[in-house]
Symmetry: C2
Subunit: 230 residues, 2 copies
């Protein structure tokens, strides 16, 4: 029986755009586990509340439900130890936790200020209203104001990618010669950005761009197959 | 025969303050290897040039010399595999490379703007002249100007420590239940700051401060034993 993944979607159920759901999706792919994804929208709180969750991703595996992308990764690593390792040992697991925090702050936070105003157009009206209200409350200004001047602000965002570029000098993936959960952690936000916006967060000459291309091809191209802008 | 470590020092040969030398020092301690440190000053280029190096740390192990803190860590891990692991597996080694880049950019770069003007007073006159000239050329302004307003600028630096705080919620060390090379990577810059300046880069209530205290006590308290301000 495949694992079920509740996966944030837009008005088009094929438009899957949560950075955290993409992390879970790639973690499942890394483990070679069959998955059935269920498009889930912000307004469908009751569906996941039944599994004790307030946000996606949520997975159902047999009788168990697990939510939060980090907890899903640890669950998969511990439940399926004979399948390819997500972390490459305990040192890797410990540092992936650090990377997760860095990626949430620097990448999700940084890219949101470049693309967040493009998201409402992809949502059902009821989801769009929720999204605009909740995010404008968080930023204290309109989403258009958040991304105003992004053509110039993107330079500062690209500066924050220096540690990625240094690591990718050493190996084609953050995990080493092949992708691991570290790559999923960082790829999730980049996939989110390209699924919701045509704005180019990366320059084509950036080694991070080349890595993103490799990640789009990884795991049978599951990420490249998704509807996206870039 | 102990390993030799050329270790950056101030006018007082006991004042060891390079963030990179501290990484190497803790890596050696982690492996339980005997070390003889040799105080080295900026003006002593010939001493290490004889070993093919332009900067410290440099280690001599039998007939071999290795320089650059990252390369020293990999050398020790690969040469002494039966001793406690620095990386905790290949996943940990790969992500330590990322962490190294983040720490150099965010921590060394960020803390330099808080403490760099305090360094010349600790150096021999000839080293102080070299240090001031080379750093002022790098910053394009005087060192006093670089750290001007540090009492207010420190808040932004402390903001960049969020990924550390998130990781330290999970375990007492970045490496997990005990310190590893990941901790040395991050501790090096903090030790540098406290060895050269009384300026408080961390608030005592910060979980990163508590972790720094644990690191000062680690490995028999080797870092706490060094002359420092805080």
């Amino acid at each position: 029986m495949p694992i079920t993944l509740y996966d944030l979607s837009g008005a088009d159920p094929a438009r899957r755009f949560s950075p955290y759901c993409w992390r879970a999706r790639l973690a499942l792919a890394h483990k070679g586990l069959e998955v059935e994804t269920i498009p889930w929208r912000f307004s469908e709180r009751d569906t996941i509340a039944a599994h004790g969750a307030e946000k996606v991703p949520v997975i159902l595996d047999g009788g168990r439900s697990v939510h939060d992308s980090w907890r899903i990764a640890e669950y998969l690593e511990d439940t399926y130890p004979d399948r390819p390792s997500l972390f490459g040992g305990e040192g890797g697991r410990a540092l992936a936790r650090f990377l997760n925090g860095w990626a949430d702050a620097a990448l999700v936070g940084g890219m949101a200020r470049l693309v967040v105003s493009d998201i409402p157009a992809l949502l059902d009206p009821i989801d769009a209203a929720y999204f605009i209200e909740s995010r404008e409350a968080r930023y204290g200004r309109s989403l258009a104001e958040v991304t105003a001047g992004r053509e110039s602000q993107v330079a500062a965002f690209r500066e924050t990618l220096i540690p990625l570029r240094l690591a990718l000098r050493r190996a084609p993936f953050l995990h080493g010669d092949a992708p691991g959960y570290a790559d999923a952690i960082v790829f999730g936000p980049f996939q989110w950005a390209r699924c919701v916006s045509a704005f180019p967060v990366l320059e084509p000459s950036d080694p991070v761009h080349a890595w993103r291309e490799r990640m789009l091809d990884a795991y049978g191209g599951v990420a490249r197959a998704a509807p996206a802008f870039g």
